[in-house]
């Protein structure tokens, strides 16, 4: 991949940005599922994560892990769709607000298969949620048309979701969340099943949207190491510890955190050319991932 594809990301920082208040605080979250044989499956154990507001910058954090590492369970708990067995998830939705337990609807989620309301056309897929959240209908329509124009979807405005390509569906699903003026959005495997060119288009898209507001916080759930490294300012590796025999122990947690701002890899368009980028990618792929 070449750097010209990532030119949407603003240039390197002159100095380390100040970290402001905490936007998301996850503390020692555990999640257990009862099994049919009476036993319990521990999906998450002591899962902790914190996202801080970075001054004048959006936050793009990736939760990286192999299949079965509990990423989806973590997503569902952070989104408020599932309750943790133990621990807590606290969130704040704006500057100056206090942290409070997350509720479903606080966090936007772009699900992996980009579900939409199939019985509504693209325009109404954007207007309907906004109107139901209390926005004036004319205002919602105006905003929807502006977003469709901005994201090159005007021609698809009256199309049914089933008539959209995968990439178009993904954009509509993201816009649906943006209609609600949310700053916190989780994207579940946004690079899954895409070819390299489209992966870079998605990276650009996410970066462009994130940079529209300093409070925007995107949590990307992925197993794509390269894409996560290109786009993120922080990278959390989710996985399971192993016992003495090398067998994985139930209950995933954050095994390692990469502060890509401190590494000098955040907000750079030339990031893939940097030796440290290559080193970290190699480290994750060859050393960290096999251990997870």
């Amino acid at each position: 991949m070449t750097d010209n594809h990532t030119d949407c990301i603003p240039g390197p920082l002159d100095q380390m940005p100040a970290r402001l208040e905490t936007l998301l605080h996850i503390e020692k979250v555990g999640k257990e599922f009862p099994m049919n044989d009476g036993s319990t499956f521990v999906a998450l154990k002591d899962f902790s994560l914190e996202i801080q507001n970075i001054k004048d910058k959006p936050q793009i954090v990736s939760l990286l892990g192999p299949s079965g590492s509990g990423k989806t369970t973590a997503l569902r708990i952070i989104a408020g769709l599932d309750k943790p067995t133990s621990g807590c998830v606290l969130i704040t939705n704006g500057e100056g607000q206090h942290l409070r337990p997350v509720r479903v609807g606080d966090v936007g989620v772009v699900f992996q298969r980009y579900p939409l309301f199939e019985d509504l056309n693209v325009l109404h897929n954007l207007i309907d949620p906004a109107v139901r959240s209390g926005m004036n209908k004319d205002e919602a329509k105006e905003k929807a048309l502006r977003l469709l124009d901005e994201f090159d979807l005007v021609k698809q405005g009256l199309a049914w979701p089933l008539q959209l390509s995968g990439g178009q569906r993904q954009r509509v699903a993201i816009l649906q969340q943006l209609m609600l003026d949310r700053h916190f959005i989780i994207l579940d495997e946004p690079f899954s099943g895409l070819d390299p060119v489209n992966i870079l288009n998605v990276i650009k898209l996410i970066s462009n949207i994130a940079h529209q507001h300093t409070l925007n916080t995107f949590l990307i759930i992925t197993h794509d190491v390269t894409s996560a490294l290109i786009i993120s300012d922080h990278l959390y590796l989710l996985g399971r510890e192993r016992d003495k025999q090398g067998e994985p122990i139930q209950g995933s947690k954050v095994m390692k955190v990469y502060d890509l701002i401190a590494e000098g890899l955040a907000y750079r368009s030339d990031v893939e050319d940097l030796p440290r980028f290559v080193e970290i990618r190699k480290e994750i792929r060859l050393v960290e991932f096999p251990k997870l």
Partner: protein, 280 residues
């Protein structure tokens, strides 16, 4: 007109280039021209069997035509028009009432309080409708009210089962999308459960309307005071006038196809995206 009758989806397949071979291959690649020939072939086969059938229990087409003439000319309550009208009216009223009732019972199944009632209604489909005769006799007067009650009840048992399965097949992801978009319970109910399933509910009504015709003949046989196709079929069968019986069966077939087509048309006009969904 394409009707709501279930058709087999054809996945992409490698065309061998030999139309005759494709006609007998699993998921063979047949175009519109070949497909129309297949249909014509079946019609010709049906007519050949009918014209030259060796089974004496099946009247010849000419006999059925003459039966039509006799029924058309028959006076008053034994005439064709009168009996078709009686049965058609019963069918339409039965389909309408059972559809409304079944939609209500099925949609309410998303509320836990109503789930046992829904399950009970579904279970009742195993009980023959004649098992309820005493109940109907006690509650309704013999004639039109009782026939409507029997048909509506009988159809609803099956409709509720079909409609509930439509609701059960809504992917969990759809509910979760609405939840993360901040929808409240009623918004989720309307936007995820009711609105998107209406086209499938029309399909269920079309399928069960066909079953209604089977019930109608039984109900009108049991309840012959007002006439109707069922009572006529019973009367003609008992006097061994098979040509008249087949004439009525043909009429039922034609009405059912028209009904199916109308429901399909309603679905496409009211829910145009359902056409896209079918093609997808």
């Amino acid at each position: 007109m394409e009707t709501s009758a279930t058709s087999v989806a054809t996945p992409p397949t490698n065309d061998s280039g030999y139309p005759l071979r494709e006609m007998v291959r699993v998921y063979g690649a047949v175009g519109g021209f070949a497909r129309s020939h297949i249909v014509i072939g079946w019609i010709v086969l049906f007519l050949l069997v009918w014209f030259f059938n060796p089974i004496k229990a099946m009247p010849y087409p000419s006999e059925v035509l003459r039966a039509f003439q006799r029924m058309w000319n028959a006076p008053g309550s034994s005439g064709l028009v009168y009996n078709v009208y009686v049965t058609l009216k019963l069918n339409i009223v039965g389909v309408l009432i059972s559809s409304v009732l079944s939609l209500l019972i099925s949609y309410l199944a998303v509320i836990p309080l109503f789930q046992p009632f829904n399950k009970f209604i579904q279970w009742l489909r195993y009980i023959p409708i004649v098992g309820f005769n005493l109940v109907f006799l006690t509650l309704f007067a013999i004639g039109w009210p009782m026939k409507v009650a029997m048909l509506t009840t009988g159809m609803s048992f099956f409709l509720v089962t079909s409609m509930t399965s439509v609701i059960a097949s809504i992917p969990r992801m759809k509910y979760e999308l609405a939840r993360v978009l901040g929808y409240n319970d009623w918004h989720v109910f309307y936007s995820v459960v009711v609105r998107p399933t209406l086209p499938a509910m029309i399909d269920m009504i079309a399928q069960n309307a066909a079953m209604g015709w089977v019930m109608i003949t039984a109900i009108e046989t049991f309840n012959r005071t007002e006439g109707g196709i069922g009572s006529q079929i019973y009367a003609y069968t008992s006097t061994n006038q098979l040509a008249e019986v087949y004439a009525y069966l043909l009429i039922i077939g034609v009405i059912a196809v028209i009904e199916d087509g109308l429901l399909s048309l309603i679905k496409r006009v009211l829910f145009p995206y359902s056409l896209v969904a079918e093609r997808a």
